[in-house]
Amino acid sequence: MADTRDIEVTVNGKSHTANVETRTSLGDFLRHGLGLTGTHMGCEHGVCGACTVMVDGEAVRSCLMLAVQANGQEVTTVEGLADEDGTLHPLQEAFWKHHGLQCGFCTPGMLTSLAAFLRDNPDPSEREVREAISGNICRCTGYQGIVDAALDAAKTMQGS
C-alpha cells in the first residue's frame, strides 16, 4: 500500500486539502494534484530552477520538497503573481517588455525567484541579478532580456 498523508495547503490564497502519496514532490502535486501546470519540472534535481515556487514567502525548488512537507504552509506559484483582476505583476510586465522569455518554460521559475529576490533586494545591481538567477537555467534568451526585465521591474516596484 502506498504511504499517503492528508495535507492542507494554501496555494495562491486558496486552501486545498488532499491525500498525497508521501513520495510525491511538491511540484508534481501542484501540477497534477491541483492542475496548476504553470510550475514546470525541468530537471528534477534542483539545478534548473524551472519548478521554483514560494513557500511561506521564500523561493524554493518544488522538485526538492515533498508535497507532505508543505502541509500547513502557504505556496505561491506563477499563477498567483498577477492580481485577481488580471493586472500583471511588475516583473511579468517587464519580462514582456524586455523580451525576457522565448519558449516560456523557465519563465515561471524565473518570475517566482525574482519576485522573492526583489522583495529582499529592492535595488540590485546587474551583477546581483545575474547571481540571483544563476540557479535558473534559460536555454533560449541568453539571460539578457531577463536581467533587463528584473532591473526595470525593480525600478517600477520601488516607484510604486
Binding site: 501540477r31 534548473c48 524551472a50 522565448q102 518554460f105 519563465t107 545575474r130 534568451t141 541568453g142
Partner: protein
C-alpha cells in the same frame, strides 16, 4: 492612419499566456483514462539481448502492461525508416522502436511499462529482468576505423557510415603556388539539446473516430506524421500530430524518435491514451546530441595573407544510428569558404559509428563547426604572418561586388551555395567599432600592468538560412472580423505568432490582437516542413505576407463593388474598409467575409470564390545568406585557468528585420549557446560508452552569472531571394561564437604561446598550456 508593424518592436502575442502560467506544454495536457509510461533503457553501450522477463514488473500493483519488441507483434516488428536517404550512407542503421536483440548505446529503448502513474512505472522498471551479453563497444572515433576496432553493430562491416567530400577549384594549383602552407588539427565538441522542457509524447488512438493523435514536444510535426504513416503503412489523413507549446527545441526535437512510435503502439494496443514525459536523466541518453569532430586542415596562402586554398579531412562522430541522414556532416562542409573568397577547397569527411546516442543537429547544426574551422585557419594565418586578424579577414572577404557569389559548395538539397547579398567587411567594421577594438591594446596593456590577462578575438560567419521548399500560410477573415491564420511551422519560442500576426496585420489592416493564430497541428494545415535551419522567417514570412495581401486584394475588390467605389480609393484600417474622403462609406472585413460565405440559398457574389481566405506558399527562391562578425573580449586567470567573457559584440545582418526585438533575442540567446559550446558544455562518455555527465551539476549549461552582456548592432541588407528581403536569424549568434572566444583566449595568453586544439576549453587544459608555455619561455 495605417499602422506599420513590419520592423516594429512589437511585444509578443505569446507572452501574457506564458507569463501567467497558462502555457500548454505536453505534460500539461491530461485526458480521461490516460496512463503513464516509462522506458527501460539499455545500461550497456553494446550488448546482445538474450532474454527479457517482464513478469515481476507486470505483477506490480498499478502496472497495466509491459511491452517488449516481441509484444508489439509481427505487424510492428520492423526498424524505423531512414528519413533522409542518401547515397553516401553505406550502412543504413536505424532503430527499432524497442530493441529487438541488440542494443547499441546506453539509453536505447528496451521495454516500456504502462502504469497508473509515472512513479509506479519507474518502480516496475527495476523489476524487469534482462539478460544481456555484453559486446565490445566503440567510443573513440579516432580509433574506430582501425583494423580490429570493436564494431558498433554486430552485423556491420566496419564503423564507417560513409564518406563525403566538398571539392571545388584547383586545389593542387592553390597549394602549388602558395607562399606558405600552414596546418592545424583540432577537435570540436558540441553538446546536446537541453531544452528546458524535455521531450514528451501523448498518444491516443480512436480507430472508429479521430484516428491516431500524437501530441509531441517537437519541431517538425509533419515530418513525424509522415514518418509514422510510413512506418505504420497507414494514411496520413488518419494521423494527427500536434506540437503544442514547446519548451525549446534547438535541433534535436526536429527528428523522429522511437518513443514516438512506441507510445503510439502502446496507446493503440491498450486502447487508452498514454503519456510519456522524458525525464532529465533520460534526456541525456535518449535525446540526440552533436558531439565530436576531429579536423585536420591545411591552408595555402600568400605572404600578404590572401588565402588560396584549404584542404584536409574531418572525422565525424555519428553515434549508433542515423536519424538525420547525413545532414550534420553535410552542413559542416557547406559553409567552408566562410565569409571569404577561397578559390579552392578539398575537404573530406569520414562519418563514423560509435556506441553512443545518435548525432543530430544542435543550434546551427554543422555550421558552427565549419565556420570555426575556417576562422581557426584565418587565425593561424594571422599569427604565422604577424598580420592583425581583422586585417587578414579584410583581405579575404567576399566583396559586395562579387555578389551573387557562387562558392563552389553544394547545399543540402543539391543546389549550389550562392551568397546572395551582404557587405562582410562593413559588418566587420561595425563589430570592431562596437567592441572598441582599436583601443583594445591600451586596455590590454593597462590590465597587464595590474597582472591581468585580457584578450580579444574576432570571428566572422555566413549562414545559409531559409532552406526550402516552403512553409505555407492560410489567412481567413471570419464573420466576426477576427482573422484566422494557420501555418504548419511549429514554434519553440521564436515568436512565430507575433511575427506572423505583424505581417498579416500590416497587410490586412487589422489589429494583431484580432488574429487567431494556429500552427503545428497537422489537422489545421495541409503540410508543413519544420522549424529548423533558421528557415521560418524566410518561408512563413513571405507566405503569410502574400496570403494576407491576397485576402486584402479580395476584400478590396469586393468592397469596391459593395461600396461602389474605386479600389484605389479604399483603405483598410482596424478591420474596416473605408473610402478615402468619404468616412461614412465603410464595410467591415467581417461583413465582407459573410458575403463570401453566405447562408443557405444565398449566393457568393459573382466573380468571387467563396471565403475571404487565401493560402500562399510563397517562400525564398534560394537560401538567403545571413552574416555576422563577432568580437569577444575575455580575461584569463592564469592562476586557475578561468576564462571570463568581459564583453561580447555582434554585428549581424539578417536582411530586413520583421521584429528587431525578436531578432535581438535570437542573436543574444544564440551567442550564449555558442559560449556554452566554447567553454562549458561537454557530454563525456567513458571508454565503455557509459555517459558520465548525467546531471546539471556535471553537464555545464551557461548560467546568467558567467555570461556577458551581448551588444548587438545590425545591418539590413535585403535578401533578393524573397519578397520581404528577410534572412534567418535563429542560429547566427551561435555559429561564430566559439571561434571568437577561442581566439580571444589565445590572444590573452600570447606570452605563453598558447594554441588551443579543442573546445570546450576547460580551465585545467588552459593551465596545462600556460605551464607548458611558461616552461618553454624559461628555457
Amino acid at each position: 492612419m495605417v499602422v506599420r508593424y513590419l520592423g516594429a518592436e512589437v511585444q509578443r502575442m505569446e507572452d501574457p499566456r506564458l507569463l501567467t502560467g497558462h502555457g500548454r506544454y505536453v505534460d500539461d495536457i491530461t485526458m480521461a483514462g490516460m496512463l503513464e509510461a516509462a522506458f527501460l533503457r539499455a545500461p550497456l553501450a553494446h550488448a546482445k539481448i538474450r532474454s527479457i522477463d517482464t513478469s515481476r514488473a507486470e505483477a506490480l500493483e498499478g502496472v497495466h502492461r509491459v511491452f517488449t519488441h516481441a509484444d508489439f507483434g509481427e505487424k510492428y516488428s520492423h526498424r524505423m525508416n531512414q528519413l533522409y536517404p542518401a547515397p553516401v550512407i553505406e550502412q543504413n542503421k536505424t532503430q527499432y522502436p524497442l530493441a529487438k536483440d541488440e542494443v547499441c548505446f546506453v539509453g536505447e529503448t528496451v521495454a516500456v511499462v504502462v502504469a497508473d502513474s509515472r512513479a509506479i512505472a519507474e518502480d516496475a522498471l527495476a523489476l524487469i529482468d534482462v539478460d544481456y551479453e555484453a559486446l565490445p563497444a566503440v567510443v573513440d572515433i579516432r580509433t574506430a576505423l582501425e583494423d580490429g576496432a570493436p564494431l558498433a553493430h554486430a552485423d556491420a562491416t566496419s564503423n564507417l557510415m560513409g564518406k563525403m567530400r566538398s571539392k571545388f577549384g584547383d586545389i593542387e594549383d592553390a597549394f602549388g603556388k602558395a607562399d606558405h602552407v600552414f596546418s592545424a588539427g583540432f577537435m570540436q565538441h558540441r553538446g546536446g539539446c537541453h531544452s528546458m522542457e524535455t521531450r514528451g509524447v501523448i498518444a491516443k488512438d480512436d480507430p472508429w473516430g479521430d484516428g491516431l493523435t500524437l501530441w509531441t514536444s517537437a519541431q517538425s510535426p509533419y515530418l513525424i506524421r509522415r514518418a509514422l504513416a510510413t512506418w505504420l503503412g497507414e494514411s496520413e489523413e488518419r494521423i494527427r500530430v500536434v506540437a503544442p507549446d514547446v519548451g525549446g527545441g534547438f535541433g534535436p526535437k526536429a527528428g523522429f524518435y522511437p518513443e514516438e512510435i512506441a507510445i503510439c503502439l502502446v496507446a493503440r494496443l491498450m486502447e487508452t491514451p498514454v503519456k510519456w514525459i522524458e525525464d532529465r536523466r533520460e534526456h541525456f541518453v535518449s535525446t540526440t546530441t552533436q558531439r565530436d569532430q576531429y579536423w585536420d586542415l591545411e591552408v595555402a596562402c600568400t605572404s600578404e595573407g590572401k588565402i588560396l586554398g584549404l584542404r584536409g579531412n574531418i572525422t565525424h562522430e555519428n553515434g549508433a544510428y542515423i536519424p538525420y541522414g547525413i545532414l550534420l556532416p553535410n552542413s559542416s562542409l557547406t559553409p567552408l569558404p566562410g565569409a571569404y573568397s577561397i578559390a579552392a577547397i578539398d575537404v573530406g569527411v569520414d562519418i563514423v559509428f560509435t556506441n553512443t546516442i545518435a548525432n543530430s543537429p544542435v543550434r546551427g547544426a554543422g555550421r558552427p563547426c565549419g565556420i570555426y574551422a575556417v576562422e581557426r585557419m584565418i587565425q593561424l594565418v594571422s599569427r604565422k604572418l604577424g598580420i592583425d586578424p581583422a586585417e587578414v579577414r579584410r583581405r579575404n572577404y567576399v566583396r559586395p561586388d562579387q555578389m551573387p557569389y557562387e562558392t563552389g559548395a553544394t547545399l543540402r538539397g543539391g543546389a549550389k551555395c550562392v551568397y546572395d547579398s551582404g557587405d562582410y567587411e562593413a559588418l566587420l567594421e561595425k563589430a570592431l567599432e562596437l567592441s572598441d577594438y582599436n583601443s583594445f591594446k591600451e586596455r590590454q596593456a593597462t590590465a597587464r600592468a595590474e597582472g591581468r590577462y585580457l584578450g580579444i578575438g574576432v570571428s566572422s560567419c555566413i549562414e545559409d538560412t531559409g532552406m526550402g521548399p516552403y512553409e505555407g500560410t492560410t489567412v481567413r477573415v471570419e464573420s466576426s472580423g477576427k482573422v484566422a491564420v494557420r501555418t504548419g511551422a511549429a514554434s519553440q519560442g521564436q515568436g512565430h505568432h507575433t511575427m506572423i500576426a505583424m505581417l498579416v496585420a500590416e497587410n490586412l489592416g487589422v489589429s494583431p490582437e484580432d488574429i487567431m493564430f494556429e500552427s503545428a497541428d497537422t489537422s489545421k494545415f495541409p503540410h508543413g516542413v519544420g522549424t529548423i535551419g533558421s528557415r521560418v522567417a524566410a518561408n512563413v514570412g513571405p507566405s503569410a505576407f502574400d496570403a494576407a495581401k491576397k485576402v486584402r486584394e479580395k476584400a478590396l475588390k469586393l468592397a469596391a463593388e459593395v461600396l461602389e467605389a474605386s479600389e484605389a480609393d479604399l483603405d483598410i484600417e482596424d478591420g474596416v474598409v473605408r473610402v478615402n474622403g468619404a468616412p461614412d462609406l465603410s464595410i467591415t472585413l467581417g461583413e465582407l467575409a459573410i458575403q463570401l460565405s453566405p447562408a443557405s440559398a444565398l449566393r457568393v457574389p459573382a466573380g468571387f470564390d467563396p471565403l475571404l481566405e487565401a493560402t500562399s506558399y510563397d517562400g525564398s527562391s534560394g537560401s538567403p545568406i545571413a552574416c555576422g562578425s563577432n568580437v569577444a573580449e575575455v580575461e584569463v586567470d592564469p592562476g586557475t585557468g578561468e576564462v571570463k567573457v568581459l564583453r561580447y559584440s555582434v554585428a549581424h545582418d539578417c536582411g530586413v528585420m520583421i521584429n528587431p526585438m525578436i531578432v535581438h533575442g535570437q542573436i543574444v540567446g544564440g551567442v550564449v549557446h555558442g559560449i556554452g559550446n566554447a567553454l562549458f558544455e561537454r557530454m563525456i562518455y567513458d571508454d565503455q560508452g557509459q555517459p558520465l555527465t548525467m546531471n546539471y551539476g556535471e553537464y555545464l549549461l551557461p548560467l546568467a552569472s558567467e555570461m556577458p552582456r551581448v551588444d548587438v548592432t545590425h545591418m539590413e541588407t535585403p535578401s533578393p531571394l524573397n519578397s520581404l528581403g528577410v534572412k534567418g536569424a535563429g542560429e547566427g549568434g551561435t555559429i561564430p561564437a566559439a571561434a571568437a572566444i577561442v581566439a580571444a583566449i589565445e590572444n590573452a595568453l600570447e606570452e605563453f604561446s598558447v594554441e588551443i586544439d579543442y573546445y570546450p576549453v576547460d580551465p585545467q587544459y588552459l593551465t596545462e598550456l600556460i605551464d607548458k608555455g611558461a616552461a618553454q619561455a624559461a628555457e
